[in-house]
């Protein structure tokens, strides 16, 4: 396990949003001014006591934080190795970690006097979390979602509509998350004066990667205290799934300087890395520029972005947050991949053994933990981010088993 000598926390990004060669600001000129405005607002309010107090009150009373840390004893025993603890982000309001970030950005939007919120969504979790906070704050909300994702996440589409959001289908390109992001960017350029774009992951132009990380880092801060109370020690390993990478960076960030904690980010191997049909840019892609930042991408030899595949809509994205790209190169985090079948097995295992139905995204992290645990001692501890619950995936899983709900 490689470790860095210099402290990582607080050292990155630089003032222009670079994590080493990654990150930065690669956007059309029209967005440069508004992004500078956002950066200033974000920097101002993150040290503003009233803002922080409001955010913390919302996280406690609206989201339901702190989220529980749960020792999956039966599953750990069955796997016969390390003790697995689950950080229960699935218990948050709206059922996933996404709301930690949308609450923060929506409060910022209000402070900045914006009246209209836009977002992109893949699995629909970020869309729901955005529609939720927009409803609560009385802001107009438009969510862009690829047609393919709309078809496989009907329940979330309906939830967003119930919440008063307009869900706009995106039919360009691969009709998934990346195209929804393109469309949201186009909307933002067009309605820059009154619109705040709530990006759901730690990607995009600066300051989004650092801002979303800071809003999600509450996961790791809580988990770091909880695990020491419950297990009486620091974890030996952290595991989280990585699509764009917001739940992962949220868990990892407060542990980055704990050299003895091994960290694993789990990408979606889809049909298998060798098949080419996957969504694992860190494991099998290369650096490039997309959606406002330089990072690892799934791309062909001509620099065209290629279509990704994963059973989980939330991991079906050809890029990844720039900080993950940096953490990979720095050797601080190990990025691995889990395929559709392995994720499904873990989905069923946790459901049957612990009575917790995980999201298919989180099932990738669980599947890797299930591989790792038997190689470790019973006294060792693996902390897994259970980033979301699986209610939204009922149709997908039922369809695989030949059932129609």
């Amino acid at each position: 396990m490689a470790t860095k000598v210099d402290p990582i926390i607080g050292s990155l990004p630089d003032a222009q949003g670079h994590f080493g060669p990654y990150g930065g600001l690669f956007v059309p000129e029209t967005l440069m001014g508004p992004l500078a405005e956002l950066r200033e607002a974000y920097e101002r309010y993150m040290v503003d006591e009233t803002f922080i107090a409001e955010l913390e009150a919302d996280l406690a009373n609206y989201v339901g934080r702190p989220s529980a840390l749960y020792h999956a004893e039966r599953w750990s025993r069955e796997l016969g190795g390390a003790q697995i603890y689950l950080k229960r982000e699935d218990l948050n309001h709206t059922g996933a970690h996404k709301i930690n970030n949308t609450i923060g950005q929506a409060l910022l939007a209000k402070r900045m006097g914006k009246t209209r919120i836009i977002a992109e969504t893949g699995a629909g979790q970020h869309g729901v979390a955005t529609a939720t906070v927009a409803a609560r704050l009385g802001l107009e909300c438009v969510v862009y979602m690829g047609e393919v994702d709309i078809a496989r996440q009907e329940a979330n589409v309906y939830r967003m509509r119930l919440l008063g959001a307009e869900v706009r289908p995106v039919s360009s390109g691969s009709k998934t998350l990346k195209d929804a992001l393109n469309e949201a960017m186009r909307d933002w350029v067009t309605h820059i004066d009154n619109t705040f774009y709530i990006i759901g992951t730690v990607a995009g132009p600066h300051p989004y990667p650092v801002m979303v990380r800071d809003f999600q880092a509450v996961i790791g801060r809580e988990a770091r205290e909880q695990i020491q109370q419950q297990a009486g020690k620091m974890p030996d390993a952290l595991v989280a799934c990585v699509g764009g990478g917001s739940n992962a960076i949220g868990l990892f960030y407060p542990f980055l300087d704990d050299k003895d904690v091994a960290i694993y980010g789990v990408e979606a191997a889809g049909d298998g890395l060798e098949s080419g049909r996957h969504a694992a840019p860190l494991c099998a892609g290369r650096p490039g520029v997309l959606h406002g930042n330089r990072t690892y991408l799934m791309e062909d030899d001509n620099g065209q972005i290629i279509e990704t595949h994963s059973i989980s809509a939330g991991l079906d994205y050809p890029g990844v947050g720039p900080e993950h790209a940096w953490l990979k190169d720095a050797g601080r985090v190990n990025y691995v991949a889990i395929d559709d079948q392995e994720a499904l097995s873990a989905f069923h295992a946790l459901t049957k053994i612990e009575g917790i139905i995980p999201a298919l995204e989180s099932s990738h992290a669980l599947a890797y933990a299930a591989k790792l645990a038997p190689t470790m001692d019973k006294k060792q501890v693996i902390l897994v981010n259970l980033s979301g619950r699986g209610d939204k995936d009922m149709h997908t899983v039922a369809a695989i088993e030949g059932l129609k709900l």
Binding site: Q16, G24, L25, F26, V27, P28, E29, T30, L31, M32, G33, P34, S172, G173, K178, D179, L181, N182, M185, R186, V189, T190, H191, I192, D193, P287, G288, V289, L290, H291, G292, R294, L297, E299, D301, N302, G303, Q304, I305, I306
Partner: protein, 266 residues
């Protein structure tokens, strides 16, 4: 001397404004692009902007997105676009050609390799939508070495500081995006454009082109009164799309619009 300078100097001498059509390379097929470029020059185009297709054109409206998709069905790569310019140059060594597109295909090729090949092909300028000067240090150095000009966009949201920064980094001309929006949108306000162009003129001696939302001869004429160049893209690409199966008709339709614009602009 770069062809772009020669062209603007010449136009200034005779008191005319530049007409700059944009088409996406390889749309609807790879064979149609070079003949179309020559036809556009024949119809009064002074500089040609050639779009490099990209899978995720986030600054473009639906018309140019679909053009990119049509071109990518033929797997048109940056190398293919450069070879189209090489072919174009065999019959036209004076009309400036500016490549317009997104950064990633250039990243993959490598900045120096791209700059050298662009120069060799006869490219005069490069406009990359998603790289501001702040991120462009290495790319600018590579382009400068071969005297291919970096063209940058200016927007309604550009602050005076940014206008200065961008004009200092740009060469050949600067391109003012007339609207807050994507290519092909339609709510262009001439007096706002005139005010912003005047503001830009205070900062730079570079010629100023205006584009995004210029659809017809009338708008082209109005813009030509305040700017040095009129850029027209989506309006032409729509015509190509309308006749995607009939290249000759598509060409005629593009020529017809350009002729009317040229006539209106004087």
């Amino acid at each position: 001397m770069n062809r772009i300078n020669v062209r603007f100097d010449k136009l200034k001498e005779i008191g005319r404004k530049a007409l700059i059509p944009y088409v996406t390379a390889g749309d609807p097929t790879p064979q149609t692009t070079v003949p179309l470029m020559h036809a556009m020059v024949g119809a009064g185009a002074n500089i040609i902007e050639l779009g490099v297709p990209f899978s995720d054109p986030m600054a473009d409206g639906p018309v140019i997105q679909r053009a990119s998709e049509r071109a990518l069905k033929h797997n048109i790569s940056l190398r293919d676009v450069l070879s189209m310019v090489t072919t174009f140059r065999k019959m036209d060594d004076i009309t400036p050609v500016v490549l317009m597109g997104y950064l990633n295909p250039i990243e993959i090729m490598g900045y120096e390799c791209f700059a050298e090949q662009a120069k060799q092909a006869g490219v005069d300028g490069v406009l990359i939508v998603d790289i501001p000067p702040e991120e462009a240090t290495d790319l600018l150095a590579a382009l400068q070495k071969v005297e291919v000009y970096p063209i940058f966009l200016l927007a309604p949201t550009s602050t005076p500081e940014r206008i200065k920064l961008i004009c200092d980094a740009a060469n050949g001309f600067v391109y003012y995006v007339a609207i807050k929006g994507v290519t092909g949108a339609s709510h262009l306000d001439i007096s706002e454009v005139a005010a912003k162009v005047a503001e830009i003129r205070q900062v730079t001696d570079l010629p100023i082109g205006v584009g995004f939302g210029i659809k017809d001869a009338e708008t082209a004429e109005q813009i030509s009164k305040v700017a040095d160049a009129v850029v027209v893209g989506s309006a032409l690409v729509s015509r190509i799309e309308a006749h995607a199966d009939e290249p000759q008709k598509a060409k005629n339709s593009v020529v017809e619009l350009l002729l009317s614009m040229r006539k209106a602009m004087g």
